[in-house]
Subunit: 484 residues, 2 copies
């Protein structure tokens, strides 16, 4: 089978192949004028033009060259007569590998709604938009591994099934092998988890951070890249029940090192896509322009997709404290005019509308906000010294905010002082027994360290410009939906 | 904080630094003669020798330089006076970042049992053995991504939570948000899954293959690398309830292309580690030699660790059919002498003892067995033509067998013929309704394709020589164990 030439190779490395006979296989993206087949095999954004001669090929065969049929073509590669491509393939032999009867096939060679395409997740990757998105998704994932590998980090697989529910990041999915209709019971009628697979209740992880800290305090620099789960009943364009997270964790790093890492890392990912996926980005950029054509101006993007990406990599991220952010917001026009829905007050969390103001109106670039009030942040974040000008205690937490999508990164320096950590856990009702090992990490050979979590799909959304997070993951899991 | 120099940099790039003052941070691996600290920060297999002058440093401070304490040292880097290292650091300032009181700290500077270390998974990565294993594990994972990226594959995240239990690879974990003590019931008393998060029963995935086929039939060449789950009550050195799988899936590939890919891929991974992790491999190689010193000869490895790895990359894998394997086994000495515990008969699956004979005795190298009896293989494997010499129908399945660990790869060409697939699913009681999309993949734009699954931990075991699979994953999940 493997004697085919990949279309990407044909399109980019054709000099030596012109005049030669080659075989290609792929899916029909279009069949124009009963003469020109646009063939795509997934290797490239661009199609190969296959030229069909009705005299030479069987008419019945050509009638089966439908949209998204899979075909095999052998013929001579020649310099193209027309504009728009360097080469084209003169079909001498054509074989239908898999038909696609248009009377039954749900996909059509015209725009179909995103909602419809989500129901056809087994075919949507054959479209220009989704093939571009999923090639770029791959590119970002690869860049993640390359960045960390080249910088001396070790990839750590933290557990997916966890016996702890102390991480406090929202509702969790239970994992069990007990018969849900009739679980074994203890004498007092409770579910007898000693008979469950792990002999206790277990859940799907919401974060690998706490375990990543174990790795950092031995290997120095580690990162995770794995699935995480939230059983939140949020049916929005921003939430998934199953999504992928990247969590670097670094020994001897403080919050400032952490911010430097976050900025450098984001820019690296974006630069990698700008460099390696220009055709995909151009397609997605023009796709957005077309979508926005008929929108009122205030709903359109301030900048084009590629322009936005270049702007992010070419500028320093703005860095401000939470306290500064509150002051900026309270002296802003929308605040004074009562345009914010949510209150801005020291001690309360920033809402999406506030973050968007800071990023999109005030600074017009990514913003890193740090030193949040301790009361609204997790127990493991490092307590800052008290400061006279500031109304309450803060922790060395940071959020990286991006235009359009809001928070892509949340991180912190971790509390390495055992006594401070214990007091904070007591305050926040985090049970010590479950996290005995987390406490022991502070007792034996601990050190200052820091890390963050990057929501992978958020970053894919930012780089591809896709509006709904369900369109940047192949098989989205959301309330009521676990199809495929 | 970040003004430290990493120990790997100090040890490999010291010319320009000799005579300079540097700061390093890390964990104490040994403190000999009250004078020489072996310091490790995780970046390297090798330690930096820190030389302590009692006259210069506070005695009370030096008393805290315990095994695995975390310290910060500033001083002059000089060419080493002793043998065994190029450079050493003369400590001018020393600070304890995190103590490790030996009266309480469970880790000790002597050999401790693997079982004990598993209970101390939050500290075992600080040992030579485990830090070597987890650096190599990272290296293999990185090589996986690099191999596929460089060869034009796209990384696909297949779902972890699945609504299908038709994949037929063993017992599954249930995922639910219903209250296990008191789930909602329908009128007839069954659990009312319409009230569960996904509005139906869901499980943890056992394989991403079926969804990867979706990707292959659009993007051409894809791979998955994610966690998979088996709720089997197997308490062995070979089984995990949660483990990582790599599953490439390729359009237009047949079983022979698939075998070529598997062999090339395995060799690439091993070569990557031979090239990039020589110090780790040497350490693990000598570790095994020490372990085997007092074993009877027949229990020792036939070859050293590095020798085994070189042997695999330097030789072609043996390729035989299942029918040939059966014939070889039935004419073998152990068979004739009745040494095999399990029967060898066409139509029955090969057991570990048979596979080991083929790999370790007969061919002394990796073996790829293909064309297994249809009856013992999964529904999606492609049915071969009937052959006169062969007692039953076979499928285009393949297993790659490695010395010591047995099967590392299982794969097949997939059944792309809709009618054959439907007949096979009916035979094997696989419900069509659940896999409607899998059938539609054959109906619309299908083509021949193939792929395989590589058990990641098995490969890590092979390359590191670790005897128990629980020692090559950071936080093993096994029956009764979901700690950390």
């Amino acid at each position: 089978m493997s004697k085919r030439t990949e279309i990407k190779t044909v399109l980019t490395d054709f000099d030596s192949r012109i005049g030669q006979e080659i075989t290609v296989m792929g899916w029909v993206r279009a069949f124009r004028s009963n003469r020109f087949i646009a063939l795509n095999d997934g290797t490239s954004m661009n199609n190969l033009q296959v030229v069909v001669d009705f005299e030479q090929l069987d008419e019945q065969l050509l009638k089966q060259v439908h949209f998204h049929a899979c075909i095999k073509v052998t013929g001579q590669l020649v310099a193209s007569q027309g504009a728009g491509q360097d080469v084209e393939l003169l079909a001498a032999k054509l074989e239908i590998l898999g038909g696609a009867n248009p009377e039954e096939y749900p996909m059509q060679p015209k725009a179909q709604s995103m909602e419809f395409l989500r129901e056809k997740a087994h075919f949507r990757m054959r479209t220009n938009t989704f093939s571009a998105v999923f090639r770029i998704r791959h590119g970002i994932a690869y860049a993640v591994h390359k960045y960390f590998n080249d910088n001396g980090y070790f990839y750590l697989h933290t557990p997916i099934i966890t016996g702890s529910d102390a991480e406090g990041a929202g509702e969790m999915f239970h994992v069990t092998t007990l018969d849900p209709a009739n679980p074994p019971r203890t004498e007092d009628g409770a579910v007898d988890y000693s008979q469950d697979f792990f002999e206790k209740p277990t859940n799907l992880t919401v974060s690998g951070q706490l375990q990543a800290e174990i790795g950092a305090l031995a290997l120095g620099k580690v990162y995770t890249f794995g699935p995480t789960f939230r059983a939140e009943n949020s049916n929005t364009s921003r939430h998934l029940a199953e999504f992928w997270m990247i969590e670097p964790e670094v020994a001897f790093y403080d919050i400032f090192d952490n911010m430097d890492l976050a900025e450098d890392f984001c820019k690296y990912l974006i630069n990698h896509i700008l460099e390696h996926y220009p055709a995909e980005l151009e397609f997605l950029d023009s796709r957005i322009q077309k979508l926005e054509q008929n929108m009122p101006k205030e709903q359109r993007r301030a900048m084009g997709l590629i322009e936005t990406l270049r702007f992010v990599v070419d500028n320093d991220f703005e860095r401000i404290t939470y306290t500064e952010a509150v002051n900026i917001l309270r002296s802003s026009k929308p605040y004074k005019k009562g345009k914010f829905e949510y209150e801005v007050e020291w001690g309360k969390d920033l809402q999406a509308e506030h973050e968007r103001f800071l990023v999109e109106k005030k600074f017009k670039k990514p913003v890193i906000v740090r030193d949040y009030p301790a009361e609204i942040k997790a127990f493991y974040m490092r307590m800052n010294e008290e400061q006279e000008q500031i109304p309450g205690r803060t922790v060395a937490a940071m959020d990286v905010l991006f235009p359009g999508i809001g928070e892509v990164i949340g991180g912190s320096q971790r509390e390495e002082r055992l006594d401070v950590l214990k007091a904070r856990m007591a305050d926040m009702n985090v049970p010590e027994e479950e996290l005995w090992w987390y406490l022991e990490l502070r007792k034996f050979g601990g050190c200052p360290h820091a890390g963050f979590g990057l929501g992978f799909e958020r970053m894919v959304q930012f780089i591809t410009g896709m509006g709904n997070i369900r369109d940047v993951i192949a098989f989205p899991r959301t309330p009521g939906n676990a199809e495929f």
